[in-house]
Structures are given as structure tokens and as C-alpha cells.
Amino acid sequence: MEALELYTVDERADLYTEELRLNLGPQHPSTHGVLRVELRMDGEIITGSRCDIGYLHRCAEKIGENVSYLQFTPYTDRMDYLAACNSELAWSLTVEKLLGVEAPERAQWLRVIVCELNRIASHLIAFGTYGIDMGANTPFFYAFRERESIMALLERPSGARMLYNYVRPGGVAHDIDQAWLPDVLAFCDEFERRWAEYNQILTTNKIFIGRTANVGVLPREMALAWGCTGPVLRGSGVKWDLRRDVPYLWPYEEIEFDVPVGEGTHGTLGDCWDRYWVRMREMMESVRIIRQACARVPSGDFMDKNLVRQYKTPLKPGKGEAYMRCENPRGELGFYVVSEGGTSPLRCRARGPSFCNLSVLDALLPGCMIADGVAIIGSLDIVLGEVDR
């Protein structure tokens, strides 16, 4: 691939200057995975950028055409590995739409709790790694302390700490134990106390505000045109959340929660600080959702009975196609599945939110400094597993 062309900055014979080509290469502490951004720089200022992805491409869509519907669930975990339950939920809902079944009530409420816990865990990583990108190494450890509690909680029903394979077409894989819901509520109490600590150490820090306010301003129209969703879109002032506007799980219609939106508190609307603050407040909203959901989990089946019997042989939905989108921590994950009546889909397309959020990077980077570039990449909160699939 031809590299970006370099432009000459100063042509005088005694002071010839040329732009510098720098690889924010696949191995880099701050690119949140194997992302390569080829930068063209005039000193510290980025004048051109070109994103190069595909280093984590694992052919998930081709695999989806060769394995059965239930066998593909763990692959969806590994796309956005930080928000595994949410990705599984999108896949499960799409398959359920094709099959024409709905998960039982208990499973729906458990799905809500598990997905919101995963949302908190994912935003904690966004918060911690954003601190490291900015040079503050301490908040990361605080975030992981809470994440450890969440992973221990989620290990109990699913058996795994990070890639759960728990939310499946038809419901959830296993039931929870008696003490799980009270433990989740205890975690919520603990988390609210810690959340205040995070704000003290990072959110209100003048240096952090100086690094993130007015940096990477994403105007509303640009965000919509580039297909940005999730906190990236909400940070630009657009109050759009699938859980509230196009609820994909009916419990969300019965739970009260707010949708935090960026307001340009410390700079321009749509800057990095707004996106970061949206994520922080979303963590508290998730706590609110979990508290209400824990109070309402009914008894009953955790998996659709017909599907349990059907799992002995691979699922065969009828001919059709379905597109379901869910609100992941990073944005809207969409699965488009085309079924020809066989045990594997004909086409299994994952529309990753990080893929679309990252595409706006080439438009945001030119004009800022490399330190700002790191801040912008961090504020988009991408996971390369989902970008590359």
C-alpha cells in the first residue's frame, strides 16, 4: 500500500523541512489493541492520518457460515471481548428472531442484569486505560479492583471470568444461585462509593481536563454521517440510546433510567471529556438499572423449553433474514443473519460499533498533536476484536 505522501513544509535551501511519517504502529501501548495509524506529522502536529486495521481479523464471518447457530455464540464473545454478554445478546436476539421464539421472563431479567454488569466492567476498562493514556497510572488499578468483583460475580452463573458464553439463543445458559442477587446488590453499593473516588482522581483533575477538553471535537452531523453510536454519539449531544428508544429487551421498558448526554461542560460539545463523562455517568445509570432489575427477577425457566430440547440437534431456523441491533457499551452492535434453512447461516454479518466509531478517526486526527491523537483514540474506546472481527 502506498504510504501517505509527505509534503514539504519549508523549501528554503538552508532550512529544508519535510513532514515526518510516523507509525503509531500495531504494537503500541496506547492503541488499545493492534491498530496501526500511519501519521504524517509536521513536528508535533498531525497533518494527515490513515488507519490500517485488520491485524486482529479472525474470519469470524466466514466461520459463522460453517458452524451452527449455537456454536457461533462463543465467537461473538470474542469480538468485543470486554463486553462479551452484550455481544452474545445481540446474536441471541437475532437468532431468536429467525426462530420466532422469545426467551422466558426470568431469562430476560437475568440478561438485563448480566449485560449491565458487563457494561460497567467495560466502561471501567475505558476509564482505567484512558488514565494510562493520559499518564495517570493509578486509576487503572482502582478500576480493576471493581472489575475483579464483577468478574467474580459473573463467574458464578457462567463459569468464566471474561468470555462467558452465557447468553444464548432462547435464554441464558445456567441459572443463578441463591446468593447471587444479594451479592450483586452489595456490589452496587460498593461501586457507588468508588465512583466518587474515580471522579476525585481523574474526572475533576485540571491536568486531565486540560488534556481532554476541546480535543477531538466531533460535531453532531459528523457523528451521524460517520455512523458513530454509543457514548461517542451521546458525547456529541445526541440523546439516542437503543435501550430507551428501540428497546430490544422488554424489561428495559419497565425500568427507569436516564440517558446521559454530553453538554460541553469543560470545553466544546463533543470533545473527549464529554465522551468520557458520558461513560462515567452511564456506569451509574447501569447501577440504577441493576438495582431495579434485581428486585424484579421472577422465578421460572431460564431457557426456552423447546430450544433446550432442540439443542440436542443443531438449530435450523426457517428461510429468512433478520437484523437486530443492541446497545453495547461501545455503541450499537448489529447482527444481520441470512438463513437458507440449514444449520449454518448463509451470511452472518456483524456490524461492530467500534468499526464505525474508528472510521471517524481519519477525519478527527489531522490538526491536533500526537498527544491529542492518543487522547482521541482513547475516547473512542475501541476494541480491535470488534473492529476486525
Binding site: A225, A322, E340, A363
Partner: protein, 220 residues
């Protein structure tokens, strides 16, 4: 508005080539002609009743009779969405791996289409005419072939590294076994294993028995 109303509005917009709303699949969709695709999508984006601000997804699907490109557009102001499809039929006399269907690019309408269309070009070989920068996005630039095609031939080597499968995998060899004899070099272009059979010859198409999960493998 639900899909039916949207479709009615689109059909009454004056753009030619809008098909009927197909509700046979689980999600209803509209088939549009490739020539008027841009006009139809521009109408959907700009009409105040439709206001599809966001292009959510662009997918290409390879079907036995045509290559479909599916656009999912959604509106944030009106909380509705629509699925629009374009079909490029296969040419007469069958196709081979170098068939490149062409579809106009919507990257001028929504910037999001830029990367989506690059991905569909990369994986399925659909050329989007008018795209500002159509090159591979997930695979290396020098890759040959479009992997998600049903007749994709897996390469035998990449960058000098052979991609052969051993007759006896490493994890099943025991100490003291004689070394497996080297397989004769495969001719370039022959498939690694049997690709999936063409659609018309598959049992399910004729309503036959269940195929096993993971079908599509061959020798291993």
C-alpha cells in the same frame, strides 16, 4: 412509521425502480434498482418524514442467483428503520471467481459507507463505483481473492509460508513414529480442500436430510 408506510412514501417519491416491500423473510425489505439506488437512498436521507440520518450497515450477500447488497438505514428523529437491497444478477453462463459485481457507492451520502463498502469489497469482491478510496481494509493489500465468496480458493502459501495441512497433525504424532512422508507440492490454484458444493446440488435445497454442523470441510 413502520416499514409499509416508509415503503409507500419511497414508492411515491418519484424515484424509479423501487420494488415492492418483500415481507417473506422475517425482516421486510425493499429491492431497488442499482441505477436509482443513489436517488432512492438520498430521498430516504433527506425527506423530512423519513430522515434517515444514519447508515447503520452495508452488507453484501452472495446468493446463488445474484449478489445482493443490503443497506440498513435508520432514523434517530423518527425511531424507524428500513432495509434496502440492490441485486446484481449473475451473468449468463455461470460465473467464476473473477466476477466483480458493480454497485454505485453511497459514500457521498453517508461517510459511514466508506469503511463498510471497503470491507465488502475486501471480503466479497463487490466493486462500489464512485468510492473515494476502494482498497482492502481487513486483509493485506496483496491478498488474492475474496474470502467470503462461496467458491473461494484458499491459498496454498502466504509470504513464503506454506499453508498445507499435515496428514498427521503435530499433536497426534508419537515419539518414535516414522516421519510422515512429504506430500507432493500442490499445484498453484488448486483448493486446499473441497469448497462447499454449489447451491443447486446441496441436499437442503431439494428438502433433503439434515446436513451435519460444520459442513464444508473435506479431507480433515
Amino acid at each position: 412509521m413502520n416499514e409499509a408506510t416508509l415503503h409507500a412514501r419511497l414508492a411515491g417519491s418519484g424515484v424509479a425502480g423501487i420494488g415492492a416491500l418483500d415481507t417473506s423473510a422475517k425482516d421486510p425489505f425493499v429491492v431497488v434498482e442499482a441505477d436509482t439506488l443513489l436517488a432512492a437512498l438520498a430521498f430516504l436521507r433527506d425527506d423530512p418524514q423519513c430522515r434517515m440520518e444514519m447508515l447503520h450497515n452495508v452488507t453484501a450477500v452472495e446468493r446463488p442467483e445474484a449478489m445482493e447488497v443490503v443497506y440498513h438505514v435508520c432514523s434517530l428523529t423518527h425511531h424507524h428503520s428500513l432495509t434496502v437491497k440492490v441485486r446484481v444478477p449473475r451473468p449468463e453462463g455461470g460465473t467464476h471467481a473473477s466476477w466483480i459485481p458493480e454497485v454505485p457507492s453511497v459514500a457521498g451520502l453517508w461517510a459511514a459507507a466508506n469503511w463498510h463498502e471497503r470491507e465488502q469489497w475486501d471480503l466479497l469482491g463487490v466493486r462500489f463505483t464512485g468510492h473515494p478510496d476502494l482498497r482492502r481494509i481487513l486483509l493485506p493489500q496483496e491478498w488474492i481473492g475474496h474470502p467470503l465468496r462461496k467458491d473461494y480458493v484458499y491459498p496454498t502459501e502466504h509470504g513464503g509460508m506454506p499453508l498445507e495441512l499435515d496428514a498427521v497433525p503435530l499433536y497426534e504424532r508419537r515419539a518414535g513414529d516414522p516421519a510422515p512422508e512429504p506430500k507432493p507440492p500442490r499445484e498453484a490454484g488448486t483448493p486446499l480442500f473441497q469448497p462447499p458444493a454449489p447451491f443447486s446440488t446441496r441436499p437442503e435445497a431439494a428438502g433433503g436430510k439434515t446436513a451435519e454442523p460444520g459442513q464444508g470441510g473435506g479431507e480433515h
